[in-house]
């Protein structure tokens, strides 16, 4: 399994299996959590679907409902119930899609705190960490024939 025998076949099989798993997750996950724009484009098809919207912006607020914009491409939908924030605030929510409207019956919703604007800091630190780890990996695994010639094989 870990030898060099049939190396190319093992490599190809591993890549194919990962791709297959990704396609399977994409196909089956579509019914579990469809994108908002798909639901809005075909309301009847997605009637009753459970949605999770990780990031949404409150566009407008009314007495008994509010409108959010989310996704890429962006789609808008009315959400029943009181708004968790004011227009412009970012929220995350789960709910059930209803074709009449269309609208969303919220299950759970949460407004992001102001510190969520610091998300760029997390992303910047994350990128720096990945670059550092990759540099460390290259230090240990890069094949450097010149170094071998000067210092000899480290394994003796």
């Amino acid at each position: 399994m870990f030898s060099n025998r049939h190396y190319r076949w093992k490599l190809g099989a591993a890549i194919a299996a990962i791709a297959l798993l990704g396609v399977l997750a994409a196909r089956r996950g579509e019914a579990v959590n469809p994108m908002l724009w798909r639901c809005v484009a075909q309301p009847e098809r997605w009637q009753g679907a459970r949605l999770w919207i990780p990031f949404a912006r409150i566009v407008s607020v009314r007495d008994a409902s509010y409108e959010i914009a989310a996704g890429d491409p962006e789609a808008r939908i009315r959400v029943d119930g009181p708004a968790p924030g004011k227009p412009g605030d970012l929220v995350t929510l789960t709910g059930t899609f209803r074709a009449d409207g269309p609208r969303l019956e919220p299950d759970r919703s949460r407004a992001f705190p102001p510190r969520f604007r610091l998300r760029w800091l997390v992303e910047a630190v994350s990128i720096a960490v990945v670059l550092g780890v990759l540099a460390n990996l290259a230090r240990h695994f890069l094949f450097r024939p010149k170094l071998l010639q000067v210092e000899g094989d480290p394994r003796g």
Partner: protein, 153 residues
């Protein structure tokens, strides 16, 4: 995806107990593989929601670890595979701590079940608060590791 600094620290601390620096590097890179491979599937399949989660499953972690271990020299492949998989498992465990509104941050039993799993201990937007704690843990780990090395010498 929690922030990658938290993932790094979560793998680097147990990495203190791995003597071979190359295997230690594989453990640490293993903890980034679910996100790196997930981003690859995200771009290739143009699927935002569930395709990236396929690498956050037991089968996904094992397959990606096997693929990556094929790129290291033959003598390191077997221990390398186990450490890459351990890194991936640490990544999934850290992600499970997040609260994704009950939807789940990993599909552990894919391809048999697409049910998302999560512990829901911390709101995903609050991972920024973990950075100072991570830095303190990392500093302590590095300090202890250097002391142990000196004692061994």
């Amino acid at each position: 995806m929690a922030d990658l600094f938290t993932h790094f620290v979560a793998a680097r601390v147990p990495g203190m107990f791995v003597r071979d620096r190359r295997l230690q590097a594989l453990l640490v890179i293993g903890t980034f593989l679910p996100d790196i491979a997930g981003k690859g599937l995200f771009w290739v399949l143009q699927n935002h929601e569930s395709a990236p989660l396929s690498t956050h499953s037991i089968a996904g972690v094992l397959l990606v670890s096997y693929l990556v271990c094929l790129f290291v020299e033959e003598s390191l492949r077997r221990p390398g595979f186990f450490l890459l998989a351990a890194g991936g498992a640490i990544h999934v465990l850290v992600d499970l701590a997040k609260d994704n509104m009950g939807v789940g941050s990993a599909m552990l039993l894919l391809p048999f079940c697409t049910r998302g799993t999560e512990f829901g201990w911390i709101d995903s937007e609050n991972v920024v608060l973990l950075i100072p704690f991570d830095a303190a843990i990392l500093a302590a780990a590095w300090f202890l590791e250097r002391r142990w090395r000196r004692v061994q010498q």
